[in-house]
Amino acid sequence: MELIILASLIVSTFFTALGALSHTSKRAIVFLALQAASIGFVELVYCLLELITGLHMEALISFLAAFVEWFTSAAVSPLIIYWGVIKTEDVSEKPLIHNRKVVISIVVLPVLWLTLGYWFSNILPERLNVLPFVALMLLLSSIPIVYRKDPLKILVGLNMAENSLYPLIAESPISLVPFMLGLMVFVNLVGIFVVMEAYRDYGTTLVSKWRLNG
């Protein structure tokens, strides 16, 4: 794996961990945007360099596809969730389990990952060497999904999990990019629609209170 790719993966993993620990929805959204921006940055730079050096149509299409993909995950999806925050409330909440346990999880997970990564390195072909990082980011993204009561933070976790697959998605055919992005935006819009409907029905965005108020 190239050093620059490794660096971008480490930075995005760091932002994923910070996003998992955020107390407010707005801060979680900022970390989501930063995670998405950092994870797609290298691919974008590669496509730009290819465009500058090659100056051919194929390179331009690749660059545009990479840019749209990067922009959607780093700007459009976070903005959709931010719109949800504005329409409902920015809940400041501690995770369902104590912060200390979350921090322990965040320390334990990379250790587990290193162990798994060692096992993975024996079985994975060269082309899939980013898979351990993807697995680690998926695990970290699952923290807000599992431990949070605020559905907007859960949506942030879901987007972070989706972003963590970016190094693999970048390999997919360009013709599929618009469909995949369209669906990503669609699922986010559906999620925000559900949260707004729930807020209207229950008067709160906290999942734990939905049943009580229902």
Binding site: P151, A161, E162, I169, E171, V190, V194
Partner: protein
């Protein structure tokens, strides 16, 4: 054989759906559309059924209809499922005429999403492109959540959010599996798995990883244990009509799961894959039956019965034998039709009485005679009572399981597993008969005396489904002729 029919079966409902959506921004069209929305839905499903039925003679003559540009293929491995899905959609659309009373979505949006859901189901069945499958899975997640939240009740947002999280995370697992295959083979057609068999044979643990991704990903969408968390919330939280449409979902998802895993089994015939699927199937059956038994709410009871049925559906596909596939398809289509019958009957009760608490119901047979008879026939069929189609489905299912298990584990264990399955079916029968007795028999409770009868559009589909089970019980070859091993 090159054919545009598979593509047409996706384009027609999409086109009518978009026509419905077109009326959304125009207020002057809205009042007009309110009058025709149900007819439009009925027309779209009728037309789709017509297109699917047009494909049947070609498929029966041994042809495979292909639209290669979109990697769509219809043959004897998926035509029965397609007919089952469109038939369910048509019957539920008839039910929809009287049952749909409006909700959070405008009529145009509602019709658009229902038709998009039909497109997703058929797309999943026909697509042989792994990215195509992922796109349809992701689209199904979004569309089904919108349809659940359409219910104006307070239960629906919570249920749909739970559903969103579980299924959206599961879709990521499908994507992970799909991307891994594509990165390794640089080809997105399912046949690339067998074409690159050496690559996968060298990496058996990677094969297991991909298979696990698909089982987790699609298993959560189907509602298999332990990813079933959303099922008991979704059924009480969705509108009855949407529950009817959802009964078609397992046909598409289970056949897709088989379509994705089977090539890996051909490449690397591991016992672990079989054990995994059989284990999940058995756990679903036991968990579903035991959880359904104490339920007082008939929708929750039915949700757990559904989980039990998912177990039965997954078992024969996990055998990876040709007879297992035939038995599995027969069971899958028959069980989905019967589930549609049951859920529409329960939906009629819910709409008429506005309660799903079985303790506060009773004596409805006088007011809902056709619904009551349809309910008991479908209940008998789904639990395998002769001479209905369910009996035949269970018979070939048990035969397939016994034929597979006997040479591998011996007579004692094979018989024990069969006995367990039969016992679970008997308990399931008891649960459904008890629900029939609580809802339809006895004296009507206070407040139910003044109920009017239900409109024909609500009992007709259930009666048709009951007649189908009798017909398929007498003549199972009608469905059998549409099925072949992969």
């Amino acid at each position: 054989m090159y054919s545009l029919l598979p593509l047409l079966s996706l384009v027609v409902p999409s086109f009518i759906g978009f026509l419905c959506l077109f009326t959304y921004p125009f207020r002057f069209l809205e009042s007009f559309f309110r009058r025709i929305e149900k007819v439009a839905l009925l027309f779209a499903t009728c037309l789709t059924l017509l297109i699917v039925m047009t494909m049947v003679p070609y498929v029966l003559s041994g042809e495979a209809l292909e639209t290669p540009v979109f990697s769509l293929k219809v043959d004897l491995t998926n035509i029965a499922g397609a007919v089952g899905i469109v038939l369910i959609f048509l019957l539920v659309s008839i039910f929809n005429v009287e049952a749909e009373k409006g909700g959070r979505l405008k009529p145009s949006m509602y019709s658009f999403f229902v038709l998009l859901f039909l497109v997703c189901m058929l797309g999943l069945l026909f697509s042989y492109d792994i990215f195509g499958i992922f796109l349809f899975v992701e689209m199904t997640v979004g569309v089904s959540i919108v349809l659940v939240v359409h219910n104006p009740s307070k239960l629906s947002p919570e249920a749909s959010f739970k559903y969103l999280i579980i299924t959206a995370v599961s879709a990521l697992f499908v994507l992970l599996g799909v991307l891994t295959i594509f990165i390794l083979t640089k080809n997105s057609h399912i046949s690339s798995i067998v074409d690159n068999s050496e690559l996968f044979r060298e990496n058996p643990r990677l094969v297991m990883l991909i298979v696990a991704c698909f089982i987790v990903g699609l298993g959560a969408d189907i509602g298999l244990v332990p990813f079933h968390g959303w099922v008991p919330d979704i059924l009480p939280g969705s509108p009855p009509t949407i529950n009817g449409f959802f009964t078609a979902e397992p046909i598409a998802f289970i056949l897709t799961l088989h379509k994705l895993i089977y090539p890996f089994y051909v490449v690397y015939p591991s016992q672990t894959i079989i054990l995994l699927l059989l284990g999940i199937g058995l756990i679903c059956i036991v968990f579903g039956v035991l959880s359904a038994f104490p339920q007082k709410d008939f929708m929750r009871m039915f949700a757990y019965c559904t989980i039990e049925e998912f177990g039965h559906m997954i078992l024969p596909f996990g055998l990876f034998t040709s007879f297992g596939f035939t038995a599995g398809q027969f069971y899958l289509v028959n069980s989905s039709l019967m589930k549609a019958g049951l859920v529409l009957c329960l939906g009629s009760v819910l709409i008429t009485t506005e309660t799903s608490d079985m303790n506060s119901l009773g004596g409805l047979i006088g007011k809902m005679k056709n619904t009551a008879w349809s309910y008991i026939v479908c209940a008998f069929s789904i639990t395998g009572v002769p001479p209905l189609s369910g009996f035949y489905a269970k018979w070939i299912l048990y035969t397939a399981i016994y034929n597979f298990l006997y040479p591998h584990v011996g007579i004692m264990l094979s018989l024990s597993i069969l006995m367990l399955l039969i016992c679970m079916s008997i308990v399931s029968l008891v649960i459904l008969i008890r629900s029939f007795q609580q809802i339809f028999l006895g004296q009507p409770t206070e407040g139910l005396n003044n109920l009017k009868g239900i409109p024909w559009a609500m009992w007709l589909p259930t009666l048709i489904l009951a007649l189908i089970t009798i017909l398929l019980g007498i003549q199972p070859n009608i469905l059998f002729s549409l099925i072949k091993q992969p």
